[in-house]
Symmetry: D3
């Protein structure tokens, strides 16, 4: 994609968690689009920096550092923090305190927040349910809880301070789908990049000031997630997990908890409910 005025944000874009898997994908792709990126992570950035990008080591728990990094930015792509299930105490620092710092930064800069939320914020909905963007949050672990907290914090900052948020509930963002569940939840790197591009460039997030996006590619097996804000930001996924179906279709877990709930494997970690009740 060649750079044109329409595809380049007017202000720099801050990307937290730049040294993580998705951070590196986005740095490369958005840098190639000619974006001015400010990158940060608590570990050094392992790749060559694209032109127009600056990287600074910082800890998400260091509030003043994060606030300063965001100065002048128009968008914050918040991909930093813990990205899988861990004990509560491991999650609270980067994902609760760190998130707060990111939102404070967005408020200060009147920047838009693009928050890497997760399907694990709603993972305890059953797979047979069809969810719209106003479904109840139903986290499936401490990680998912931190993402649900983030969406609510986004609501607070929207309602009180007018901060815009794109809540991107990422399904499974990997180079390729690797099990049957991902036939539904897979989000290709290219679709992620397009999504972030749209989320950043969309002139408005609608009258409410925030949108939820179900972060899956155009997978015909994705029947759980329906209405969301993709039209508001102009995103349409172009890839699909369907071609992987023959190879993966039977690759299920055999665990009834995992297969019952949208959150998959995370829901079964430490699962101890003995008499499942209807939701």
């Amino acid at each position: 994609m060649s750079a044109s005025p329409d595809t380049i944000p007017q202000k720099p874009v801050l990307l937290t968690g730049a040294s993580g898997a998705l951070g590196r994908v986005l740095t490369k792709a958005l840098g190639a689009q000619g974006w001015t990126l400010r990158l940060t992570d608590r570990v050094p950035f392992p790749d060559p920096l694209p032109e127009g990008a600056r990287f600074q080591l910082a800890d998400l728990e260091d509030g003043p550092a994060i606030l300063r990094l965001a100065e002048g930015c128009g968008t914050i792509l918040h991909f930093g923090g813990i990205s899988v299930e861990h004990p509560f105490e491991t999650v609270i620092g980067p994902n609760i305190r760190g998130l707060y710092h990111a939102y404070e930064a967005a408020r200060r800069e009147r920047a838009r927040m693009v928050f890497a939320s997760s399907n694990h914020a709603i993972g305890f909905h059953e797979r047979k349910e069809v969810l719209d963007d106003d479904c109840a949050l139903a986290p499936d672990g401490y990680y998912g809880l931190s993402k649900a907290y983030g969406e609510m914090m986004g609501g607070l900052y929207r309602d009180k301070h007018g901060v815009e948020s794109v809540f991107l509930r990422i399904g499974s963002c990997f180079p390729e789908p690797i099990d049957a569940r991902m036939l539904a939840t897979w989000l290709s790197y290219a679709d992620l990049t397009r999504l972030i591009t749209c989320a950043t460039l969309a002139p408005s997030l609608g009258p409410k000031g925030s949108v939820v996006i179900w972060g899956a590619s155009n997978n015909s097996r994705m029947t759980w997630w329906r209405r969301d804000g993709r039209d508001v930001i102009g995103w349409a996924p172009q890839d699909s997990a369907d071609s992987y179906a023959p190879a993966l279709e039977g690759k299920t877990s055999g665990n009834p908890v995992i297969e019952r709930y949208q959150g998959g494997g995370f829901t079964a970690l430490d699962y101890s409910r003995t008499e499942p009740t209807a939701r």
Copy 2:
């Protein structure tokens, strides 16, 4: 109320935040009902201990201490933590980490959680809205956000571990209503006591395993909150703010933000949204 087998829980009841205003009210009232109470707070209990009550100094942030305090308890009345708006960093320790410890205790003991949530977990709904118990969470500050987080953590512990929760969204629990808003939101101490009694003694919390209760007395001006789980636990408020109406009716803030939203004064703290959008 004289003690009868039906009104005394079979197992001890842990009350956190015992030295706070509501904690002291409940200690006195539940103690008088003959309950076996385990009290804790991070400051000493200022009143005489009722018979059957034990108090232990502990910090909600000290997980192993809280877990041990709860051993053998059948119900946790979680009233501890910060109870008004404060900076994020002041709230996170007692209200996020401390809450987690309370829920871990409930899970370990297979105890029921009665969680002192707050109207501030939904404070950014407008007063003209009518909310049922499945309304979206809409916190009005860091305090309210910690309460919303608590309700979601309760959902997680219910879905994953079968922990029962009563989410008590307290309106304004004071000796008397003192302004016009409280004509709607006031919860009398006696109604609170009855509510906690019902929440603790109810044989079941229904098929879902959790209920939301709107914590207001029988105030005719309370038109914002409608359906909740009171029938499930058998609670009906008996007091009313109505008799205070002549004295308080005009006692409004004059601040359009405060008067617009259910959360009242908390919504206006640091409010900076310049173009309020429709919700």
Copy 3:
């Protein structure tokens, strides 16, 4: 003093350490001048709030809270932190980290910093020396070192970010002088108030962007401190310790270290130099 446009800052003024002795004096006096004050401290404000003043509990070590408190302010009167000698570990949090937060706030807001430095930042100069505002810093303890650090941080923020600073090296600011040394170092509350008023209202701090002020009243025994920036801000002290001289003149310590150095008693705390060398 009645309020006039010339004596009221255009933007709100943040006062840290508002609940301390000098903070309370300034709150009362500046509030009476009609200033819009934002007050903060980590303990509640003990007096009635003047009209136009708001108080918020916050810890100087909580960076994001301090940064938010300063939003929209044009001047920061930084009187918070430890104000006497204490072990290093007691000083570092409020006076080093807390100061950094105050300067970050000033930078963000392009506000002027009026920093309550101290004679203890230069306390190891001898009393027989005559110091101008470009004298070397010579702290006389961990407290004084934190003030010297603050002046240097002010220099950094001036040189790198253009933040203006008034470095107010307070002598002894008490209701009355109480020993012989204070015949030189005493700063009356009224002179302090005038000084802060001038420091805040001065249209410019000169070409350099910062001034040092020797914070003593018009005491004829003050022979140690000479050139400073008072003309730049238009301050002239009006009170004098001289009338206390008959009562206090002989009230010296008898300790040669104390009597030798400008810092007085602080210099002698833990003093252990066995062979004093010339400076």
Copy 4:
């Protein structure tokens, strides 16, 4: 260099930051001179230990550990801590608290401190200025500020406790100069070693008890730094960057801030002063 009584300190020498670049250079060189070294760092020492050297893992923030390590030492070579610009919160622990521990150790042992300060403690002086050792401190970032703080702490410990200090303002200590600025600021490893040797062995630091040394080799382009204490300790640099001039002379940054100030690149990090004023 073969060991002779004149070149070996009577007491062991503590070297902090031993596992860093300069620490390793010094360990090898001083060990080869027959010195008794006590080495410490928070990461293991990566090289073979010279005879007479002991290494112990310790964190500079662990005061009692540092104090014990220094027992019996006559000199502390304080090279530990962060050595480039980082956010304030990253710097404060090792460079402020850690430094305090090093000075407490020096006081306890009546040891001489050789403090690895930096040109960044005075980096906001312009290159056209000529500085003597009594020039004002002018740090160019949080790192430089920690070094300036260290020099002032050294002054406090000298004035109050008689602790001797060599404040070594290192220019650019690398195997070779690599840009035009280093033609002025380069300090060869051999000159560093000679400097440390002199600083340690000098019988006296003069009447004042402390000296500042400009840490650059004998570079003819070094015109910024003039008078210092080298004669007091008997050091004369023997290497020179001059021979690198043909290759490096044009290798400048093109950034007017960098080229204007002595601190070079560090001064430009986050530089935001819009109307540079005269100093």
Copy 5:
């Protein structure tokens, strides 16, 4: 008691926990004996300071501060820290880390440690046992465990560094005995003072370098504790709880655990052993 050379230690004496109950008793009594006292606590000293005494606020967890306070002292009376049962996390800071700082100070100064240990370090011995000073440690809670840890740390510092220790296992040191158990365990304030005096002034602690003292007055009901080091330091208690026997003899707890073990009430806190085994 008038001061004579034999009753005044040659070096200053550091007393930690000076603002506590026993600290205040000792400050008054030892000050009256003409001792040079250095007092410290984390809260201000509430009484008038005796002549020759200095007080400094410090936290036992601040190692360098404690180490400096002890400089030049010949004896450390370590009465600081938590003095009753509390959750582990409350005890670890002051009683484990703080104790370490006190022992480091003793090592540095080659000072004698007089450590306020407790009968709770051996509280799980049965009352029918007769203990000598070499009995096994048997702590009865986290508090007692911290005291047992202290005695073992004292052993380490004795064996490795030659630090002398008096391990004073205090029974019940109150103005008067107040229950039947204290008829055995009571230590009068006067006997405590004499004990501390002897512990400080004893020229030697015997060949081993440490002694254990059972801290009870001359109570005829004290049959649990037998051999100790009192002859080594020349202490003989002069008071007795016997005269309180008529009033207190029946004042027992009725709790078989409490009455079985020497530690009394502390042993029964959270006691949960269901099948007590023989020790």
Copy 6:
């Protein structure tokens, strides 16, 4: 060894420090015996997981995480924490706080604790002494002190809560002995595995509820350690260091402190006792 009902614990076994040297040995060996293992460490497990084993990252300082990991376990093999001498501040977190969490877990689960204590808990006994399991604890450093603390905590949990403990005082557990001292202290991996197997499977720990085991193989040079609880658990070492004697016998340290005390090299670290007294 093939799995039989008698050799497989009825409940899962928690192993802390699983990623350490001994943890890996035990994981492999116990896993091969068909045990259901729950493994944890703060760094990932580097080997393939045996069937029936689960690994979870957790920090021993995270109490609630450790308590949850232990749920349902019948035995805790506590091998986590620091395993060599380090500064106090490095040891206290994992070895004091972490140990407390392990014991809390054992109490909660009514599980047996098999605690990896160390000869360094008694290292300051002389080699010429013959120790039985009731010998006095005599730690030889902060590490050994943490192990002695652990044994005393085990006593507290036994006496107060009925928790069973095997205190395994490991000598030198390495693939092979590598110096003369290890001819006495060596414990082969196979003997360790058998020991842990016996400690876990023993139906009872005798009337007292705890045993001490001297953790050395069947070495004829081991003359220091005599009576212990091996018969109670049915352990008999089968390997011996004797065959290494010809190669190692002269491999002594030459340091009289090391050679005098059982703790060997650890006793000499920082050793400063100038006049060794008899013990």
